[in-house]
Amino acid sequence: MEIIQIVGIGILATVLILVLKEQKPVFAFLLTTAAGILIFLFLIGKIGMILGTLERVAESSGMEMIHIKTVFKIIGISYIAEFGAQIVRDAGQESIASKIELAGKVLIMVLAVPIISIIIETVMKLLPA
């Protein structure tokens, strides 16, 4: 029944923000941020549970830990970047939000660099010199 709590928090925050926006736009923005963080905190336990299950399954089946770590980093970077970008976008700063998304994309691509280098080295060794 957490979904009811979360939707309730969302609707309540929306009504309050609509009322507050006429008087104090700054406080409306703060309320938006607070509501977003609250919903994220509700979800963070569930996300941790999912990740823990994944990790346990991978460990028990003898999968490489470095793969798991890379995948978890991808998930974390994309969630955090998305969350921050949405908050900034709500405050009306579209350009900063796109910069945050750009940073998230770049950091995800950086995770690919060691993998790409190993694959390319292997392929180069396969090719006749």
Binding site: I50, L54, V57, A58, S61, G62, M63, E64, M65, I66, H67, I68, K69, T70, V71, I74, I75, S78, Y79, A81, E82, F83, E101, G104, K105, I108, M109, V110, L111, A112, V113, P114, I115, I116, S117, I118, I119, E121, T122, K125, L126
Partner: protein, 267 residues
Amino acid sequence: MTWLGGWLHELILVVLMAAFVEMLLPSKSMERYARLVLSLLILLAMLSPLISLLKGDASKELSAAVRQQENSGWPGGGKGKGGESLDQILADGRRLAAGARDQSLKLAAEEIAGQMRDQIAGSTGAKGVKVTVALGMGKNPEAPLGQEVPGIISVTVVLPPPQGSAGSSTAGAAGGSGTEGSPIHIEPVKPVQISLEDSSGDGSAGQASPMPEDSVAAGAGSGGNDTRQASEADAEAGNIIRLLEENWNLDPGQIKVQSTGADTVKS
């Protein structure tokens, strides 16, 4: 056949996880990039027997590369995991500690110089004495384990010009108060001409020739006055050295007294 089973096992797991993670991703904009990295991971899992054949352990290679990337990444990314970063932190700490010690030594040297100046002014009545104290770390013979303790390396006392010192040494504290009113006035050194062949040359050479060591100070007064002032300055320097030796438990070799007017250096 076991390696084939293990390889298939891993491949299937990676593909399943990639599909699962793709659903977990929050937005469309990140999806393409995440999909690229996930597909690279699947490719790596597919190639892992080949990599193991050519380069040794594939996962070990990858984790070494990732660790190197983390360490050489930006300042917040590495978290200081490697041994070299620990060494760097320790070196930074030592450098900071040395800097703090140098600063405290400098403060203590200024404090000691002030106290010495007060003592010299109190006992000899000389005003305007400049005292410079150099402190350094030295071995403490009494302490166990060879700890280093700060000690006085050298003391340099610069006496005021002879008008002030002469007045104060003859008249004591009263003379000192008299010199405070008049500004310190240093005349430029006149050109010194030394004639070797004849003592009865022109006037300026005759004035300079009898006392060559005092001729530098000849600008301050006449020749007869110079010798008296020099001896007075010598006596005063001796007094100051004795005073500092007794009060501060120093070697005579560590104390250096310079008189700016008479240019005598005593140590």
